[in-house]
C-alpha cells in the first residue's frame, strides 16, 4: 500500500519536472515527427521491392517509429538520474522510507505517459497521411511498447546509478544504441539482411518489438511475432526491474 502511494507521489514529481522543462517536450515531440517527415519519403520507391512487404509505406514504417520511440524514451531517464545524483536528490529520496521500487518506478511511469502522448501524435499525423489505424491492435501494441520502454528505462536508471558519472553512462548507452537500433529492423526490415544478421537480431529485444508492432498495427493478433514478443519482453522486463531495484537499494554514489 505504501509502495503504491510512493509510486503515485514520485510519478507526479517526475511528471511535473518533465512538464516544467519545455525544451525536452519540444525535442520529444519533434524527433518522431522528423522521422516521419524526413525518412518516409525515402521509402516511397522501395515498397513492393523483393524482400519488402507490400503495402502503404506508412503502414510499414510507422510501427517501427513507435518501437524506436519506446526504445529512446527508455534510454532517457538515466540522464536525469545522473543529474539528480549530482544534485543530491537521489540521496535525499533514498534516505526517506520511500519504497525502493517506487524510487525506480516513479520516473519510469512518468516518462512512459509522455511517450504515449508522443505515440498518439505520431499515429494521428500518420493517419492523416494514409496510415491505417487498427484500434485494437494498437492497444495491444501499447502493452508491448510499455514492456520495452520499462525494460530500457530500468536499465538506463540502474546503469546511471552504477556508473555515477555522465561519461561512463553515456558510453554504455550510446555503445548499446547503435547495434540495437541497426539489428532491430526499425527503419528497414531485418529480413532484407543476410542470415547471420537475422540470427543476431533474435538476441535483440527491440527486434521482437518492431516485428510485433508491424503485425499488431496491421490488426493481426495471431502469428508467432505477437506471442514471441510477450515471451521475450515480459521476463526480460521483470528481471531488469528486479536488478534495477537492487541497484537503487544499495546505490552508493
Amino acid at each position: 500500500m505504501k509502495a503504491l502511494t510512493d509510486i503515485g507521489l514520485l510519478f507526479r514529481r517526475h511528471l511535473v519536472q518533465l512538464l516544467r522543462s519545455p525544451i525536452w517536450l519540444v525535442v520529444g515531440f519533434s524527433t518522431p515527427i522528423l522521422y516521419l517527415a524526413l525518412f518516409t519519403p525515402l521509402l516511397k520507391h522501395l515498397v513492393g521491392m523483393p524482400g519488402l512487404p507490400a503495402g502503404n509505406v506508412l503502414d510499414l514504417f510507422l510501427p517501427g517509429i513507435l518501437a524506436l520511440l519506446a526504445f529512446a524514451s527508455g534510454s532517457g531517464p538515466g540522464f536525469s538520474t545522473i543529474f539528480e545524483l549530482r544534485a543530491g536528490v537521489t540521496e535525499r529520496l533514498r534516505v526517506t522510507p520511500a519504497s525502493r521500487f517506487a524510487i525506480l518506478a516513479g520516473p519510469i511511469l512518468a516518462s512512459m505517459l509522455l511517450m504515449f502522448c508522443f505515440d498518439a501524435v505520431v499515429v494521428a499525423i500518420g493517419a492523416a497521411f494514409g496510415f491505417h489505424v487498427h484500434a485494437a491492435g494498437l492497444l495491444l501494441l501499447c502493452v508491448v511498447l510499455a514492456l520495452l520502454m520499462a525494460t530500457m528505462a530500468a536499465f538506463s536508471i540502474a546503469t546511471a546509478l552504477a556508473t555515477g558519472d555522465i561519461n561512463g553512462f553515456a558510453a554504455v548507452i550510446n555503445g548499446l544504441n547503435l547495434p540495437v537500433l541497426l539489428l532491430g529492423g526499425v527503419l528497414l526490415p531485418i529480413s532484407l539482411g543476410p542470415e547471420w544478421m537475422r540470427v543476431l537480431a533474435h538476441l535483440n529485444p527491440l527486434y521482437y518489438t518492431v516485428t510485433a508492432a508491424r503485425v499488431l498495427a496491421a490488426g493481426t493478433f495471431t502469428g508467432p511475432a505477437v506471442w514471441q514478443a510477450f515471451a521475450v519482453l515480459t521476463p526480460l522486463c521483470v528481471a531488469v526491474l528486479g536488478w534495477a531495484t537492487a541497484v537503487v537499494r544499495r546505490a552508493v554514489a
Binding site: 505504501k2 516544467r20 522543462s21 543530491g88 536528490v89 540521496e91 535525499r92 534516505v95 526517506t96 552508493v252
Partner: protein
C-alpha cells in the same frame, strides 16, 4: 545519559586502484545523547561523511554495529529511515519545484497524511523563514534560503535525530549565524543533532560536544571547553626572519621554564606557556640577546585547532586530503573559515560548493 545514536567499532573500506583499498573509517565508536548537538570535526577526507552515511543507512557498514533511535542500522534500515532526517552537503531539493512542493512531497514520502503534512509544511515554512517565497521555484532561491529549505526538508517529518553533513559550507557569515540559530532551535525542541564540520568556529560555537576525527579514527572528544582545557596554557607564535633562524630560536627557547610543545612551522615557532602574557617579555628578550629578532607574534588562548594540533601533530587547516590540496590555501588565521573547500576524499562527494555566491532572487 540515554544514547540516541550509539556506534561501536564502525569500519568502512573502499576499493581503491590496484589492491589499494582505502580504509575511510577505522573503528569509530560514539554515543550521542538525546537532545544534544554533536559535532564531528575533522579535515576533508577524515571519514566524517562516510561515518554519517553509514549511520543514515546510505552506505553498508563493513564492520561494527550502530543503533539509531534504538534500532539496529544494519538489520532495520527501513525503520531507522523513518525516525531520522538527513541533509547532505548537496541538499538535494528539486530546483524545478517550489519550496512548498518539495516539503509536501518529503512529508508524504515519510507516510504523513495529506492534511497533516500540509499543516506541518506551513509550520516549518514559518519556522525557517521561508514562508515569503514558499511558492516560488527553488531555482530562484539565494544560497541562504536554499540551505534553510534543505534543513527544513530534513525535519518536516519531525525526526528524533537530524544528521547534517557540512551544513554551513559556502554560506556567508550572516547566513551561517542564522542557520546556527535554526539548528539550536531544533535542539531546543528536543531533536538530537549530529553534524559534521571542518569549521573550527562552527564546532566551537554551535556544538554541545565535539568529536575530533582524523584518518578515520576519533582522536579526542568532549565539550569545546573541556577540549581546550586539555591544552592547558596559551599558544604563542613567534615569526622570525627565516626558517634557519626559526630553528635556532626553537633551540634557544626549548629549555625555558614553562615552555611546552614547541614546534617549528616554516619561519614561525609555536609553543605553549601556562601564562602566555607573562612569559612573552622574557622570551623576546632571550631571542633578542641571541640575535634572533622576532618580526611578529601572536598570543592566543587555546583554540580547537590547538587541540587538533596536539592530537595529530598537524594544524586542522593544513590537514586536508594530501591527494587534492585545496586551491589557494590561506595562511593560518584564527576564526576565519575557508569557504567552499569541497570534501575531496574518494568516498565523499565531488564538489558540493553550495551556492558560494547568493543567487539572484
Amino acid at each position: 545519559m540515554t544514547a540516541v545514536i550509539e556506534a561501536r567499532e564502525l569500519r568502512k573500506r573502499f576499493p581503491g586502484g590496484r589492491d589499494q583499498a582505502i580504509e575511510a573509517v577505522r573503528g569509530v565508536s560514539l554515543q550521542v545523547a538525546r537532545g544534544e548537538i554533536l559535532g564531528f570535526l575533522g579535515p576533508n577526507g577524515a571519514g566524517k561523511t562516510t561515518t554519517l552515511r553509514m549511520l543514515t543507512t546510505l552506505l553498508p557498514i563493513d564492520e561494527g554495529s550502530a543503533e539509531v533511535a534504538g534500532l539496529d542500522v544494519r538489520r532495520q534500515p527501513g525503520r531507522v529511515r523513518a525516525r531520522i532526517g538527513y541533509v547532505s552537503q548537496l541538499g538535494g531539493a528539486d530546483e524545478l519545484a517550489t519550496g512548498r512542493e518539495n516539503l509536501t512531497l518529503q512529508g508524504r514520502l515519510y507516510g504523513g497524511r495529506r492534511a497533516d503534512v500540509a499543516r506541518r509544511v506551513g509550520e516549518v515554512l514559518e519556522r525557517f523563514d521561508l514562508a515569503g517565497f514558499a511558492d516560488r521555484r527553488v531555482r530562484t532561491y539565494s544560497g541562504g534560503q536554499r540551505r534553510r529549505l534543505d534543513v527544513a526538508l530534513g525535519v518536516v517529518h519531525e525526526p528524533e535525530v537530524l544528521f547534517l553533513d557540512e551544513p554551513s559550507t559556502g554560506l556567508d557569515p550572516q547566513n551561517r549565524a542564522s542557520l546556527w540559530d535554526h539548528i539550536r532551535g531544533l535542539r531546543d525542541r528536543g531533536t538530537t543533532v549530529f553534524l559534521t564540520t571542518h569549521y573550527l568556529d562552527e564546532a566551537d560555537v554551535l556544538c554541545d560536544r565535539i568529536m575530533i576525527v582524523d584518518h578515520g579514527t576519533v582522536v579526542a572528544q568532549g565539550t569545546p571547553r573541556a577540549l581546550k582545557q586539555q591544552v592547558a596554557g596559551d599558544a604563542i607564535v613567534l615569526v622570525t626572519r627565516n626558517t634557519d633562524e626559526a630553528g635556532r630560536a626553537a633551540a634557544e627557547l626549548a629549555g625555558q621554564p614553562g615552555v611546552r610543545d614547541l614546534t617549528v612551522e616554516g619561519t614561525a615557532v609555536r609553543l605553549y606557556a601556562s601564562d602566555g602574557a607573562a612569559a612573552l617579555p622574557g622570551l623576546l628578550r632571550l631571542l633578542d640577546r641571541a640575535g634572533l629578532p622576532v618580526r611578529s607574534l601572536r598570543l592566543s588562548e587555546p583554540s580547537l585547532d590547538d587541540v587538533f594540533l596536539r592530537q595529530t601533530g598537524r594544524s586542522l587547516r593544513d590537514a586536508g586530503d594530501p591527494a587534492a590540496p585545496a586551491p589557494g590555501r590561506r595562511a593560518p588565521d584564527h576564526g576565519v573559515p575557508d569557504h567552499g573547500v569541497p570534501d575531496h576524499g574518494a568516498p565523499d562527494h565531488g564538489a558540493p560548493d553550495h551556492g558560494d555566491a547568493e543567487a539572484v532572487a
